[in-house]
């Protein structure tokens, strides 16, 4: 499986990355090299193996359904590039 430039461009769109055209060319090669390399996993017979998503062996801890955090809007928005009235501000979205 080899990626072409158009596919790499669409992955970039999906990943929300602006990749300049010249960089896109280079990326095609890099990504194909990495994908070609990871494809050695195909040698491993995993037909009888369950996928492993966590290593601790524990189940999700549960707690009372109660508010445990929050109530400091100004602190949270203090780092925003643009904020007003407690909201984050972005270029107008037209719906």
């Amino acid at each position: 499986m080899s990626l072409d430039k158009a596919t790499v461009a669409s992955i970039a769109t999906l990943a929300r990355l602006r990749v300049p055209d010249d960089r896109l060319e280079a990326m095609v090669g890099e990504l194909n090299a990495i994908l070609g390399w990871v494809e050695q996993l195909d040698e491993v017979d995993t037909s009888a193996v369950e996928p492993m998503a966590s290593v601790t062996g524990h189940a999700l801890p549960q707690r009372e359904d109660a508010v445990s955090d929050g109530g400091y809007q100004a602190r949270v928005t203090a780092n925003a590039p643009e904020a007003a009235h407690g909201f984050y501000v972005v270029p107008k979205v037209v719906e």
Partner: protein, 421 residues
């Protein structure tokens, strides 16, 4: 939510549930604070079931429930606060919400409305949600499609974020009409997300980018598998309150109420509880009539909720008792009720104070009747000449003379004896 035969109960699925991560990529959707949304995409916490709707024609309709899953609130965007900017409100971002997905079983705006109301009632019964749509505690994404009779379901459009039953019904009406016009004009429906503009009463497309439709779900590595202990599920089940369908059936069976009255009384748990306090040791139908007709009427007129009714269940019970034991007549009771609603006083006190006690003394009633007959000798002659209808005239005159206090049954009895005897 499982609603068959009133057996509403959560059914836990699978013991090993991995939360899934999903990154909403739709351009116009608000992005939650972490840039992705956690959702029980693969393993919903509750599986299939159904909810029963009472249709206006008296029949019952089952609406299939596909699943109930938990996911994070994404937050919301505000686009009308600034001419060139959008505001992003992440105050609720990340807070858990549950999404209940129904099967495509609803066939009209009316059924959709009934479904929402029933769901809301169930959620309020079990105490998971106050169901307040105006405040955003409950919202609906409504999928609408049309088809010619006998054909497969058509392509659907999703109308997002609806927050009132009325708007839901209006939006469905509009959207169905829009789709019909397109199809009848030879067009086809594009599956898309639409918004309902309540000020214009129309839906319009959210122009979403087609290429950004790959959600990339995978098990969230920040969360471990959720394991639900079967004992806990059993305990939750045992703890469930009596749900509306079961309660309604019981009210009909035990109290002999009509389906209509029972449905009204069980819609809210608080209403049903109120009725059960009222009905204790009393005539169930009489109690239901007084609650539904008089009390609800007065509350409605006063713009009040049952929870702030000036007349308590015990107080209304006192009034019903006075009717049942013949202390006052039904007509007098209406006046007494009006007074109770106004002043908050109890029925017996008002009856006492205003001397409204029903006259059941046969001597007193006889003398009243004698007076009436003497004053209307001509009518007595007509009656005796065969004009039977005048009987009710004499009853009316007697009641009037007693200022409504005469026991109507006794008045009838004595009149019969005097006129026909």
């Amino acid at each position: 939510m499982r609603g068959a035969g009133g057996a509403d109960r959560p059914g836990a699925q699978g013991q090993d549930q991995h939360a899934q991560r999903v990154r909403p990529q739709k351009l116009l959707l608000c992005r939650p604070a972490q840039g992705y949304q956690i959702s029980q995409y693969k393993d919903p916490v509750v599986g299939e079931g159904e909810i029963l709707l009472d249709l206006p024609d008296g029949t019952t309709k089952a609406v299939g429930i596909e699943r109930l899953h938990l996911e994070q609130d994404a937050g919301k965007s505000l686009h009308d606060q600034h001419p060139t900017k959008s505001y992003i409100d992440l105050n609720r971002s990340g807070v858990a919400l549950m999404e209940i997905v129904s099967k495509p079983d609803l066939r009209s705006p009316e059924e959709a409305g009934l479904y929402i109301k029933k769901l809301r009632s169930l959620l309020r019964y079990v105490g998971t949600c106050d169901g307040n749509m105006q405040e955003g505690s409950m919202r609906a994404d409504v999928n609408v499609s049309v088809r010619r009779p006998g054909e497969e379901l058509g392509t659907r459009c999703e109308i997002k974020n609806m927050n009132s039953v009325r708007f839901i019904q209006q939006a469905i009406e509009y959207e169905a009409q829009r789709q019909i016009e397109i199809i009848e004009g030879g067009g086809t429906i594009d599956q898309e997300t639409r918004l309902y503009d309540s000020s214009r009463g129309e839906t319009r497309s959210m122009r979403s980018k087609e290429d950004a439709h790959d959600y990339r779900y995978f098990p969230d590595p920040d969360l471990l598998p959720l394991v639900l202990d079967p004992a806990r599920v059993e305990a939750l089940e045992a703890d469930l309150p009596e749900l509306p369908d079961v309660k309604k059936a019981r009210f009909m069976e035990v109290f002999g109420l009509s389906a209509y009255d029972a449905a009204i009384l069980v819609e809210e748990r608080a209403t049903a509880d109120w009725y059960e306090r009222l009905v204790a040791g009393r005539d169930p139908k009489l109690a239901a009539n007084w609650m539904i007709t008089e009390l609800f009427g007065a509350l409605h007129k006063a713009g009040k909720e049952l929870s702030d009714s000036p007349v308590s269940a015990e107080a209304l019970g006192g009034l019903v008792d006075l009717i049942a034991d013949g202390t006052i007549s039904g007509r007098i009771a209406k006046d007494v009720f009006g007074e109770m609603f106004e002043s908050g006083k109890d029925a017996a006190a008002i009856v006492e104070e205003k001397g409204l006690k029903q006259v059941s003394d046969s001597g007193a009633i006889e003398s009243l009747i004698d007076e009436v007959l003497a004053e209307n000798a001509d009518k007595v002659a007509e009656y005796k000449g065969g004009k039977d209808k005048l009987f009710s005239f004499f009853v009316g005159q007697t009641m009037k003379k007693s200022q409504g206090k005469a026991n109507p049954a006794m008045v009838n009895e004595v009149l019969r004896a005097k006129l026909d005897g």
